[in-house]
């Protein structure tokens, strides 16, 4: 069964567990299992049907934004990692006010050109 890596800030919703097994063949299904077991995670992970903009989600080493978002396939022995983005800066900027929409195809373009400021963050 896939294992989900939970960041410290969300472990209050998983009884302190850092890794939680959750069944599913896609990230969407794995998250559904996870939320069924730990309902308080839902608000932290999702904004409507989408993953919150500030949460990075990976299947093994791959950011799901480079895959198929929530429809990315998950193998039985895969690790799905949930990791809040690490960001900040000296000044409040336009970028900071516009959180990314996780899983959205519009982010791939930005992600492939990380050096171009003004991306969809």
């Amino acid at each position: 069964m896939p294992v989900v890596r939970i960041p410290t800030v969300l472990r209050k919703h998983t009884d302190g567990e850092a890794k939680v097994a959750a069944a599913g063949a896609t990230v969407r299904e794995v998250f559904a299992s996870l939320v069924a077991e730990h309902p308080e995670l839902e608000d932290s992970l999702f904004d409507g049907d989408a993953v919150r903009g500030f949460i990075n989600v990976y299947v093994d080493d791959e950011d799901i934004r480079y895959l198929d978002g929530l429809d990315s396939p998950v193998e039985e022995d895969a690790e799905v990692a949930i990791m809040p983005a690490v960001a900040g800066g000296a000044e409040r900027s336009e970028h900071a006010r516009r959180p990314r929409s996780a899983g959205g195809a519009e982010r791939s373009e930005h992600a492939r050109r990380p050096r171009s400021a003004g991306g969809a963050v």
């Binding site: 990791m83 000044e91 900027s93």
Partner: protein, 144 residues
Amino acid sequence: MDDHSDTEVFELDRATWDRLVEHAWSDHPYEVCGLLGIQPDGTIEHFPIDNAERSMTYYVMEPTQLLRAMRQIEDEGWRLGIYHSHPHTHAYPSATDIRLAAYPEATYVIVTLQDRDRPGIRAFAIRDGEVAEKRLVVRDDRAA
């Protein structure tokens, strides 16, 4: 006279201090960022991470590099340090830094190059929007 009795101490070895300042200069005037893995004996593993925004006023750690570094730090059981540079402002968490701080267990380290001749580093905890400065102690590498 300052009373540091309630202040958490964050120890940085001189070599890491130098590496952080060097990293901050390496892409000046853009902000740089990275993670620190702090081992139980105080040894610090340094993980420079690309600033995906390459901005003078904002940073976002490149997600894949972030994953790899964070996973190693967590799996090794090291304590977490999160650093970035303020090329033009002082070393104190900005409103953006505070709002986006999502790692309550981390020590947030800020390198300032505001005074080009005297780079500075300060360390903080940021929890629930509250900033608590830690007392930064720079130790020489061979000190006991």
